[in-house]
Symmetry: C2
């Protein structure tokens, strides 16, 4: 998606160690007009008339997932991290390792809000190792719902998440895949 | 706001101890059409043409804040909780006690995304003790920005948050204030 790649090049910053900072428009300060455009772009690829819900994980996926849900006319559910006293009762849960926080966290989704009749599109803003997304896939599988696909804004193609998930046979579509990221040097995969 | 109060009465659940569960439409599964209506409602009260940004705290405030930002044509910034390795450099921070997680957490906002020329509307989905919102107020004050007001979807009027913040002279507007909450018994404050 040219608009997104342009924003990454012009406003993103690459830090040593392949860290891609896009916090000015994607995951700390949110540009909702860009979110709108990304939701339209996902709708060109996925059959969004055939889904019943959007699923994401807190926190930074929520903004994009909200705009997608609004545009496709379905509810958005976000998996919570760690045990919250405000969710009692039946929960699907999946333990993941968070590289952001460098510790194990548990993704939780109430069994009330996802079930076997659901057709789920997972949306997230960013994928590197893919741990959060694999936790969401696990929860969809536990619920018996159908996983229609996974839409990611920015994928770090030089880490394992995307490869692993595509090898599972899941329909993963990323709007920008970064194959190389060093200070003053960024290479996007063709066709993104 | 009648539509919101109706949803709370029909779909919410009151648990012993005054816990108000609205996770089916407000803070776990998100009904974006309700968020749209709430954003319109805030716009009747606040001069949204006069703000430069929406500020909220992760995670459950993000969905409503995103829809508000989209509608008012400004960026949305969400304060992160705890130290994330993905935000380096200058940060405003405020320590709060999270009743949800029963521990101290730190709210963080990059100094890049809020400054003295900003006019800030704080938006959050829920207020009880008001700890998260007071942390956000603290960050706005640190930044030198102007706090235009605070919009809350559901306020628990029988806890101290709203009273404390109104006594600070801050323009706080809640769309539904719950003054009594017991199983099968809910009382809203007049004029909400």
């Amino acid at each position: 998606m040219e608009q997104l790649k342009k924003r990454i090049v012009e406003e993103g910053r690459i830090l040593p160690g392949g860290i891609v900072k896009v916090d000015g428009f994607l995951n700390h300060r949110i540009d909702t007009s860009l979110m709108d455009a990304m939701a339209d772009e996902f709708a060109k690829y996925f059959d969004t008339k055939n889904i019943t819900m959007i699923l994401t994980a807190e926190a930074s996926g929520i903004a994009l997932a909200t705009i997608c849900a609004q545009k496709y006319g379905v509810p958005m559910v976000f998996a919570k991290k760690a045990k919250s006293d405000n969710i009692e009762g039946g929960l699907y849960h999946s333990d993941i390792f968070s590289y952001t926080y460098r510790k194990k966290v548990t993704l939780l989704v109430s069994q009330n809000w996802i079930g076997k009749d659901d057709r789920v599109l997972i949306i997230d803003d960013f994928m590197a190792n893919g741990c959060a997304v694999r936790g969401l896939i696990d929860i969809v599988e536990q619920s018996g719902a159908e996983l229609v696909g996974i839409g990611i804004a920015v994928e770090k193609g030089f880490q394992e998440g995307g490869k692993t998930i595509r090898e599972m046979g899941i329909d993963l579509h990323s709007l920008a895949i970064i194959d190389e990221a060093e200070p003053d040097h960024i290479v996007f995969r063709d066709a993104t």
